[in-house]
């Protein structure tokens, strides 16, 4: 099959869950299909400024076509429109303006899709961005949507219900995401599959001695990802400091990732900055548990990585995906508020045997559900079913 992935940004140095998932899946499917990627020149997701050159490129053997973003995101205009569409009475036209303001505003990319007549299927990533909202309807009879939706207000905007009903099929990352999208759009009749993501553990992690490299204590809690309010890290800092004031035995909190929030000046909170994949996996292996405070996740690859390393996870239960993953895997506990954070964390810290059992259950779950061959087989089966069924009129 000839497959074209359509995504807001793409590159070996692009961070972000959906973008990483897209790149991994494109590279995997390229072993059996003819795969190309259509994207913008943007690298950052805040302003979508043109960073890469427009035109053809190759990323890890995949052919990539990039189009220039017409104008960067205007944060003020976007915030004002967000207030209208999420808090006030408004019209569908306001919601469409919100999508344009959200960006990446790239009409050239959208126009190019109609000209790609030899592509069997387009895989559109992330429903909320311009390229999916305006691009998918142009090639709806050959489109598969990977919504990467989270339980946030955007998914309930009226214009997206039609988008969710438009493609030939959908690829979901978790059962919670499927239920959410089907609930808001009534698209349960469309072919779909829940795939999650394969987990790739880098070969060289064992050679990295993170304890001596970063002078780490024997026990520590670990967070990996963007250090951002949207990821719930501000609340994690707040909870951690309050708990530390009452319970001196709470292990240090070690973080890696890009800081958008200021890191508190606290003797037990340590930010290691950017680390390599090998270092990240070695840190996952060395930690007592991974803390995942994000209220909005469509999958949480880092939780899967922690389980792959046999480590327990402590997750924010306000994120139904994370709660569901913990329950399905039996690999972690979860909290809704400060009282539950204290109770679950102290349970995990004080009961190493329980941590071990949770980690082992999580590891078995990842091996069963998130091995790449399992994921690839699920995707292949959906795509072949759609192509075999012919193009919709």
């Amino acid at each position: 099959m000839k497959l074209a992935f359509v995504i807001q940004r793409y590159g070996a140095d692009v961070a972000g869950g959906a973008e990483l998932h897209c790149r991994w899946l494109a590279e995997r499917l390229a072993q059996r299909h003819e795969v190309q990627v259509v994207t913008t020149c943007a690298r950052d997701y805040v302003e979508w400024r043109n960073h890469y050159a427009a035109g053809q490129d190759t990323v890890n053997g995949i052919e990539v076509t990039r189009y220039r973003v017409r104008r960067p995101r205007d944060a003020g205009a976007f915030a004002a429109l967000s207030e209208i569409v999420f808090d006030d009475e408004h019209q569908p036209a306001d919601e469409r303006r919100w999508v344009v303001a959200n960006g990446p505003d790239c009409p050239e990319l959208v126009e190019s899709l109609g000209r790609m007549r030899d592509v069997d299927l387009f895989l559109f990533y992330s429903y909320r961005y311009y390229q999916s909202f305006f691009g998918l309807p142009r090639v709806a009879d050959r489109a598969v949507l990977v919504p990467t939706a989270e339980e946030d207000p955007a998914v309930r905007l009226s214009i997206f219900a039609e988008l969710f009903r438009a493609p030939r099929g959908l690829i979901y990352l978790t059962p919670e995401e499927r239920d959410l999208i089907q609930g808001v759009s009534g698209n349960a009749g469309l072919p779909h599959v829940v795939i999650g993501s394969g987990v790739s553990v880098p070969v060289g992690w064992r050679e990295v001695d993170v304890r001596s490299r970063f002078h780490l204590p024997p026990h520590f809690l670990f967070y990996a990802g963007r250090i951002d309010r949207n990821k719930g890290v501000d609340r994690l800092f707040d909870y951690y400091r309050r708990l530390d004031a009452d319970w001196l035995a709470v292990p240090p909190l070690v973080l890696v990732g890009h800081p958008v929030l200021p890191i508190p000046d606290h003797p037990k909170i340590r930010h290691l900055g950017y680390v390599t994949e090998e270092e990240k996996f070695a840190l996952l292996d060395a930690c007592d548990l991974l803390v995942m405070p994000s209220p909005y996740e469509s999958l949480s690859i880092v939780a899967l990585e922690a389980w792959a390393m046999g480590r327990a996870v402590l997750a924010n239960a306000r994120c139904k995906v994370l709660e569901g993953q913990c329950l399905r895997s039996n690999g972690g506990l979860f909290y809704e508020d400060y009282a539950e954070f204290c109770a679950t964390l102290s349970t995990l810290v004080e009961r190493p045997e329980l941590r071990g059992r949770l980690g082992a259950a999580g590891q078995a779950y990842v091996r069963r559900e998130y091995a790449w061959p399992v994921v690839e087989q699920r995707v292949d089966s959906l795509l072949r079913g759609i192509v075999g069924g012919g193009r919709a009129k």
């Binding site: 046999g310 400060y338 009282a339 190493p352 329980l354 059992r357 082992a360």
Partner: protein, 155 residues
């Protein structure tokens, strides 16, 4: 990947563990032991129910519960009209002309009322917060008293 524990093969039931943890928290809550966050949540629930019972505009209630002071009156005199075209323009021009005179008499009164609103709002919210806290305290003391009475009866 290192094996974190030699008891790793014993099955684990996260749902059951969470029920156990949440029951423990609920027991402590019944004893009146609440975190500041829980007290704030209870307070918000109570303020919301007062608003719903009094049947005020739900949008105003939302503003009242928001940390900003968007709910309060202001001295602004916005030049608005439903009319369009030439008539609308004339109405706006007329309003612009009388605005300085109107504000001369209303600004002071509105400012004073806005400050009073703010004062009473803080006073009433704090009183409601103290009531919620004291209710928890009374519940805890009542439970303690019952325990002591039971112990005394048994002795």
């Amino acid at each position: 990947m290192s094996d974190p524990s030699n008891t790793a093969d014993v099955p684990v039931d996260v749902a059951a563990i969470m029920v156990e943890i949440r029951e423990g928290i609920e027991r402590r809550r019944r004893q009146g032991l609440r975190t500041p966050e829980e007290l704030e949540r209870l307070l918000e629930e109570r303020l919301r129910s007062y608003g719903e019972e009094s049947q005020i505009d739900p949008r105003l209630l939302k503003q009242l519960l928001h940390p900003s002071h968007g709910w309060n009156i202001s001295t602004d005199y916005p030049l608005r009209t439903q009319r369009r075209g030439l008539v609308g323009g004339l109405v706006r021009a007329a309003k612009r002309l009388v605005r300085p005179f109107v504000r001369l008499y209303t600004d002071h009164v509105f400012n004073r009322q806005a400050q009073l609103n703010l004062y009473y709002m803080y006073f009433l919210q704090d009183a409601a917060r103290q009531i919620v806290r004291l209710e928890g305290e009374v519940g805890r003391l009542r439970q303690r008293l019952e325990e002591l009475e039971r112990a005394k009866g048994a002795a």
